[in-house]
């Protein structure tokens, strides 16, 4: 038995703890927004957050997530249904084509903005290069991340800190 807290809700599931978290989410919990792409952490389609950190759920044993907070694409909008700023920016910039990779793209971007509210191009390259988009919408993703970042209020000390960091 593994206990997960998924998008704020506790879920007890009876699975082999070695089974990847991806399949527990998709098959046991029917949260199909998280996608299978490669199975070896090369494409990022399966990205979710475990205790706030982006992980590739296809290569993360569900046992590792036991007792931890999991956030998936289904859990980033507000309780009242208001989309996350990144989701809105994705629509405004018409980012998705086939859309299959986009749950993972958005989850990587959410994690980026949580640690780096005003990302530089290099920050975006580093945070997003683990997510493949075969439709090639990278320039739109970059633009949407920058747009969404501007809608997120940044506390003064963090602004200073972010501005104080030299580009790598």
């Amino acid at each position: 038995m593994v206990a997960l807290i998924v998008n704020g809700k506790r879920e007890d599931i009876s699975v082999d703890p070695n089974q990847p978290l991806l399949w527990a989410l998709r098959e046991n919990l029917k949260l199909t927004g998280t996608k299978f792409g490669c199975g070896i952490a090369q494409c990022g389609a399966c990205t979710v957050h475990v205790d706030g950190v982006p992980v590739r759920s296809c290569s993360t044993p569900v046992g590792f997530a036991d007792g931890k907070q999991i956030t998936t694409i289904e859990g980033i909008a507000s309780a009242d249904g208001t989309l996350h700023a990144l989701q809105q920016a994705w629509i405004d910039n018409q980012v998705p084509q086939c859309g299959y990779c986009q749950s993972g793209q958005i989850m990587s971007a959410v994690a980026l903005l949580e640690t780096t509210p005003r990302p530089t191009d290099d920050d975006i390259d580093t945070a997003m290069r683990g997510n493949i988009c075969r439709c090639g919408m990278y320039t739109r993703i970059r633009k949407a991340i920058k747009e969404a970042a501007l809608t997120i209020p940044v506390l003064a000390p963090e602004t200073t800190e972010a501005e104080g960091q030299p580009d790598e």
Binding site: Q42, I73, L83, I91, Q94, C98, D125, M128, C135
Partner: protein
């Protein structure tokens, strides 16, 4: 059997519940009542085959094209809604069911008119026991960049205009006023003289009683209000919150999961399988063994896949099991030389007398180029979910397909069911790129489900997806070109390996007095599949590299050289000029950086690209791509721009990294670690210029892909002086690097 005629018929009819359907049909008669049962719900009226109106005045376009990210459903709805004067805030799109009555009328009509050919790779899905279908050319394909230029132009617009006229006629009858006094706007009819107005829905039932007009009046470009405007795609909101349903997301009560292992040498058969270890693994329910594959069915996909790894199988591989990649190329070279020596070239196109003209040319040059096998590598691994009711002799399939009708028919054939007893529920496609036009994967899922008493979801691993593809085939091309004293080509002899689609892919767009293009056919075991832009992928690289070499030989600027060869072709020149101008062609590039240009016409669209590359890091880094495209008229400018961006990145991945090789007949590459894909940090800025020349409509999904590889190779030559004549480019030695 009804005979196809050149003339289309528009049909109409009322549905139960008071909705209306209008359609452009290839068959005569009032067929909407039959179709209505498939697409119209409570309170909806099928006005004709391709449009219905519900009681709330919602206008829904129905078309036989699937959404794989290319946005055709939205653009098709724009075409219908504009002609119909529908309220854009109150429209919807519905994919037509996989049924021959919804088959691609437009594609068939173009075929009959001799303006298009059915891609040969699809033959297998329409012949065999479905010969009748083949004869009738019932197609339902999303591919070949056909949706807008064929279905849209010849189907949706006519249906929209016809529906509008039918509603106006119905309103005129109801109000007892002349139809010419009525006007339409935002899904409403107005009679200004009497101040009367009504919703389309109010007249739908009356309209559906009448036969549609045979020649509805279509709008001139100046009258467009929805076409030509950027519109947000219908499918995007569901793709940012995880609710979009792809094939892999199908979920049925009691469903189990299957993983598969295909014979590693494609086309070979399984000799023996030791399943004992797999059978003992947790969750494993059943092992299904067929000639070409083994499947494990288990409680969960991961369990099924783990058990696949535990199988021990042997195969009858024959000679194919000894072939390696160099052997493929060596065989091409031998066969190419033999064909020329024996005078047994297969003619592609010839005019003038190229071989005689060599005698008159002052200077002859020869170049050879090489491209590898390519996999499609769509993000969503191939999958299908199948539920069979054996007693009823029926089956249902959930999958993402570019070819739902072919899927229905091949699944029915595999199961021995009547075609009409198989229902395909087409889902969003997690990438298609041509791969999802070949319905081998739903057939495989059906074969597995046929041996189970429950529905089965089959998912291919990424490794299977990479190694069991239908590939862009490896090919070699040889050019011999004779130049006059001014360095311009007077004779053009090109030989290449394998001709598929489209038939004109190897035909140069340039003014050349003497041309002989010919080919040989390969005999290896790797199977051909349509890969985004099909034969244009290799011929774009061959021809646009060769022309660049000619310009260099002549000591001329490659842009000006192309311009001179395109004299008398104003559309091509305008596109070339637009790309060059956007890039600031002629500017001095910094040390180690280069600029290259190319132009390819494919699927009715002319596309030129200028690439800027930085070689100072040792490997090519593409910084900017300037795209100019003329598809005649752009229905959805933002959507078309996105297709150009997508085509560039898809082609750039192939140009830099794309390479499938075989060893002992097996595909060597297996996943994204060794089949590399361009990522965020390598993505260039892409600057798109669109040209509405007013010419016949061209496609959008594919034309952005062919020009990027030659433009990049030409830019690398400009930066380094090294001419790269084989793909991929990323790891080859250059003089600067």
């Amino acid at each position: 059997m009804n005979k196809w005629t050149r003339r289309g018929f528009i049909t109409a009819g009322a549905l139960t519940g008071g909705a209306l359907v209008v359609g452009v049909a290839i068959r005569p008669g009032h067929r909407a009542p039959k179709l209505a049962g498939m697409v119209a719900g409570e309170g909806e009226m099928l006005v004709n085959t391709w449009v219905k109106i519900d009681a709330d005045n919602l206008v829904t376009a129905i078309a036989p094209h699937s959404e794989m990210g290319q946005g055709a459903p939205t653009a098709l709805t724009q075409m219908l809604a504009d002609e119909m004067d529908a309220d854009w805030e109150h429209v919807a799109f519905e994919e037509a069911p996989a049924h021959e009555d919804f088959a691609n009328y437009a594609l068939a009509r173009e075929y009959i008119a001799g303006e298009a050919t059915i891609p040969r790779f699809l033959d297998g899905t329409v012949d065999g026991v479905f010969l009748a279908l083949s004869k009738n050319m019932d197609m339902q394909i999303t591919g070949g960049s056909t949706s807008i230029r064929l279905t849209g132009q010849r189907g949706m617009r006519i249906a929209g205009a016809a529906a509008r006229e039918m509603i106006v006629k119905a309103a005129a009858k109801t109000w007892k006023v002349p139809a010419r006094e009525l006007r339409t706007e935002s899904s409403h009819v107005y009679h200004d003289a009497s101040g009367q107005s009504g919703r389309y829905a109010d007249f739908a039932e009356e309209a559906a009683k009448h036969m549609p007009p045979s020649q509805p009046k279509m709008k001139e470009a100046a009258e467009y209000r929805i076409m030509g405007k950027p519109k947000q795609r219908f499918d995007i909101p569901s793709k940012v919150d995880g609710t979009a349903k792809f094939g892999i997301d199908a979920d049925l009560p009691g469903m189990k999961y299957a993983a598969v292992m295909g014979a590693p040498v494609i086309g070979s058969t399984i000799k023996s399988v030791d399943t004992s270890a797999a059978e003992a693994m947790p969750g494993v329910i059943k092992i299904v063994q067929k000639d070409h594959f083994v499947a494990v069915v288990a409680d969960g996909y991961w369990q099924a896949q783990q058990a696949i790894y535990a199988l021990d199988a042997t195969f009858d591989e024959g000679e194919a099991g000894t072939l390696n990649q160099e052997g493929v190329y060596d065989r091409f070279r031998t066969m190419m030389s033999e064909a020329v020596e024996a005078g047994k070239e297969k003619k592609d196109i010839a005019h003038g007398n190229a071989r005689k003209a060599f005698k008159d040319s002052g200077h002859t040059v020869e170049f050879g180029y090489e491209v590898p096998f390519l996999a499609h590598a769509a993000m969503e691994p191939l999958n299908a979910t199948v539920s069979i009711d054996r007693e009823a002799g029926t089956a249902e399939v959930w999958t993402g397909s570019q070819n739902p009708l072919g899927t229905r028919n091949t699944v029915a054939e595999a199961l021995g069911f009547k075609e009409g007893n198989v229902t395909v529920h087409n889902q969003f496609l997690g990438g298609g790129f041509g791969r999802r036009a070949t319905p081998d994967y739903p057939v495989m899922a059906a074969e597995i489900a046929a041996e189970c008493d429950f529905p089965v979801k089959m998912i291919w691993s990424r490794e299977e997806d990479t190694q069991q593809d239908w590939y862009r085939l490896a090919s070699i091309s040889r050019f011999k070109i004779g130049l006059d004293d001014d360095g311009m080509p007077v004779s053009w002899d090109q030989q290449y390996v394998d001709k598929h689609d489209p038939p004109e892919a190897a035909h140069p767009i340039y003014n050349l007095p003497n041309v002989f293009v010919h080919y040989i056919e390969s005999d290896h075991h790797m199977r051909f599949g349509a890969w985004r832009s099909v034969d244009h992928t290799q011929h774009g690289f061959y021809i646009e590299s060769a022309v660049d070499e000619l310009a260099d030989t002549a000591g001329k600027d490659p842009y000006e050289y192309r311009r001179a060869l395109l004299a008398g072709k104003p559309r091509h020149i305008a596109v070339l000029d637009a790309a060059a101008k956007a890039a600031g062609w002629g500017k001095t590039m910094p040390e180690g950086q280069g600029i290259g240009i190319s132009i390819v016409e494919s699927f009715g669209t002319i596309c030129a690209q200028v690439v800027e590359v930085d070689m100072t890091g040792g490997m090519p880094r593409v910084t900017n791509v300037y795209v100019a495209a003329d598809p005649g008229f752009v229905i959805n400018p933002d959507g078309f721009t996105a297709q150009m961006e997508s085509g560039v990145i898809y082609g750039l991945t192939a140009a830099l990294y794309g390479e499938i090789t075989i060893d002992q007949g097996r595909v060597v590459q297996s996943n994204f670690h060794d089949y590399e894909i361009v990522r965020m940090d390598e993505a260039p800025e892409i600057h798109v210029t669109l040209i509405n020349s007013g010419a016949r409509l061209g496609g959008g999904g594919e034309p952005g892909t062919p020009p990027i590889a030659p433009a990049l190779a030409n830019a690398i030559f400009n930066a380094t002086g090294t001419r790269l004549r084989s793909l991929p480019l990323a790891y080859q030695d250059t003089d600067v690097a």
